[in-house]
């Protein structure tokens, strides 16, 4: 992999040059939190942000998206609006890049989702390294570092950003800046290692995921699920803010006085009562406890069977977005806890 460095004071120059590759989007502040947004000026970008309210998922799988327009006689005509828009996401954290890599696998496979894939192709990602706060457990989820899925990835090494070039497009961006980037030398490599070491020590939250699938199986009947079911509001907040929740609903609507209309998909959540409801009226997950169990089970156990790792990346968003303080880290800790058999 090509590794270069960019002097920090040249970052805004770099930003102005890469705009030729697409519309520049970066985290900006919104009432003390951060959101990915189109930049109107570079100075609005907040690269030291903790986490955005919504993950970059919103660019690849928008909350609402028209899939088809229907016209009698024409049938279903795919909607291509917005798919070819070139965007550069500047300042994506490793966990969020990791999450996009997970979504890549879901939306690929035997049946490729052409909407997702078109956006993925046209949206460039410039990653940036970060330091953990009290909600981050990406390291436990092995998502504190990514080796692919980005075009460029920047590590803050003091006076420089060390840049990993991930794709040909990333290389084109580097080249377009003329000679802004410089080769790295041994001192900067040491800077990187020092930062990596410091980052590792900065994690305050740790979850053990080894053999977690088996423990989920063993605790399938645990009373934890009933307690969580009592608490959960089924508000869907955790699913909306999750960088790897991809469930969607599809709805058709018609125009007034016509059979013409459009087919839209929109974000959905397995916590909603209708999620597993079938036409005959049977609901396979009618209780809130069965639904929240399914959510944890699918992320931490089901996904492991399917893709070899949990789909959780440890970004901490669901923890801060839950109005009733349901905390995945605490749930896993409790599932792992050795209870005194006698007191059961």
């Amino acid at each position: 992999m090509k590794i270069l460095k960019l002097p920090k004071e040249k970052l805004d120059l770099f930003a102005s040059v890469v705009q030729q590759f697409g519309e520049l989007h970066a985290p900006v502040e919104q009432d003390g939190r951060y959101v990915f947004k189109r930049l109107t000026r570079w100075s609005d970008a907040r690269l030291e942000y903790d986490r955005t309210i919504l993950p970059p998922k919103k660019y690849f799988l928008p909350p609402r998206e028209a899939l088809f327009r229907y016209r009698p006689g024409e049938g279903f005509v795919p909607n291509t609006d917005g798919l070819d828009q070139r965007i550069i996401l500047f300042g994506v954290h490793a966990c969020d890049v990791y999450a996009i890599n997970i979504l890549d696998r879901v939306f690929a496979g035997k049946y490729k989702d052409p909407y997702y894939q078109a956006r993925r192709k046209n949206i460039a990602i410039i990653g940036i390294d970060c330091l953990p706060d009290k909600q981050c457990f990406c390291r436990s989820m092995r998502a504190d570092f990514v080796d692919h899925g980005f075009d460029l990835f920047f590590y803050d090494t003091g006076d420089y950003y060390q840049a990993l070039v991930g794709t040909a497009l990333g290389d084109d961006m580097v080249l377009a800046t003329g000679n802004l980037f410089e080769p790295v030398d041994a001192a900067e490599i040491d800077d990187y290692k020092r930062r990596s070491w410091n980052k590792r020590r900065a994690f305050q939250v740790d979850v053990e995921i080894r053999d977690l699938p088996e423990i989920f199986e063993m605790e399938y009947q645990s009373e934890i699920w009933d307690e969580l079911g009592e608490k959960c509001l089924s508000c869907g907040s955790c699913s909306m803010v999750c960088p790897t929740c991809y469930c969607y609903d599809v709805a058709d609507d018609v125009e007034l006085g016509s059979r013409a209309g459009k087919r839209t998909r929109l974000w959905d959540s397995c916590l909603f009562a209708s999620h597993a409801l079938v036409g005959s009226g049977e609901n396979f997950r009618g209780s809130r406890s069965s639904r929240i169990k399914y959510r944890f089970y699918h992320k931490q156990r089901g996904f492991v069977a399917e893709y070899g790792r949990p789909s959780c990346v440890g970004c901490g968003r669901c923890v801060s977005a839950c109005p009733v303080h349901i905390d995945v880290v605490q749930v896993i800790d409790r599932l792992r806890r050795v209870e005194d058999v006698a007191s059961r």
């Binding site: 795919p78 709805a251 059979r259 699918h298």
Partner: protein, 290 residues
């Protein structure tokens, strides 16, 4: 450099879109049972009608423009191509919209999806089909596939039970099988108020008394409401059926049919990709499956 319109005509969303419904004409509506009509469809485009191939047990996503899309199992056999037969129960918004359509109206179809029955494994063995109520709909594809390729199977047994004769799906064609010697076709109803029924009367599991089943060389395809699974599975397990020879067809909510939308998840499997045909072994290992 491609021009803008060339770019869009090459767009995978237009050229290779797994969500794209293909329009099909309703060529026949057969009012089989009240609120369980059999719809025969044919793709408007001839090449699709010729090339559509499915496995018994697979399903399609059916679009009723303006009302929505839903999964429907294919009731016709791959051995009888060119048209698709769908036995659709009138239960919700989309099926209500379908029931308002007439012959010659147009619907959308994409698929086939799902794993279907493991034909490579089944071929060369005995086949037991056990259905209750509406469970005959997905089994009918397998039934006719087996009868149309009769030499590929050993003994074939069908056990089908409904509440009353008038609730029995495919009643005419199934009662015509009773006298055939190449299949042991056992039909039963719980009650026969009209006193016209010439076959068995009694619960579905009682048909086991009339069948000779060798569990070691038989694959059992079971479909029906939960109560059917409960009692049929019980009988099959009593006969020491290998758990992976018991094949169940499941129904789940689906919005995509291709493993993306998340609705049909059971444990770590998606009904649309790894199902809808699951073995009893799968069922034991996946929570909340039945």
């Amino acid at each position: 450099m491609l021009l803008a319109d060339e770019v869009s005509s090459h767009h995978p969303v237009l050229s290779d879109n797994p969500y794209q419904p293909h329009m099909a004409r309703i060529v026949r509506i057969y009012k089989m049972v009240e609120n369980n009509h059999l719809f025969t469809l044919r793709f408007l485009e001839d090449h699709l009608a010729h090339s559509f191939r499915h496995q018994p047990g697979q399903f399609i996503m059916l679009s009723i423009p303006g009302a929505g899309e839903m999964p429907i199992s294919i009731s016709s056999s791959p051995s009888r191509p060119e048209v698709l037969e769908l036995c659709v129960r009138r239960v919700g918004r989309v099926t209500n919209a379908l029931y308002r359509l007439r012959t010659n109206d147009v619907v959308g179809v994409r698929g086939p999806y799902g794993n279907g029955y493991p034909m490579q494994e089944i071929i060369g063995n005995d086949l037991l089909l056990a259905a209750g109520g509406l469970g005959m709909a997905p089994l009918r594809s397998l039934l006719w596939y087996a009868l149309d390729h009769r030499d590929k199977f050993n003994n074939i047994t069908l056990m089908y039970g409904a509440k009353r004769p008038e609730d029995m799906l495919f009643r005419e064609e199934l009662t015509a099988l009773v006298d055939r010697t190449d299949i042991n076709c056992l039909l039963t109803v719980d009650a026969d108020p009209s006193a016209t029924w010439k076959n068995h009367i009694g619960r579905l599991p009682s048909l086991f008394d009339h069948a000779k089943i060798d569990p070691m060389r038989t694959y059992a395809a079971v479909c029906g409401p939960p109560v059917v699974y409960k009692f049929i599975l019980q009988r099959l397990l009593e006969l020491s059926f290998p758990k992976n020879h018991i094949l169940m067809s499941l129904e789940r909510r689906m919005k995509c049919g291709i493993g993306k939308c998340g609705h049909c998840g059971i444990g770590y499997k998606y009904t649309c990709l790894q199902g809808p045909i699951f073995t009893y072994w799968d069922a034991i290992n996946l929570p909340e499956m039945i």
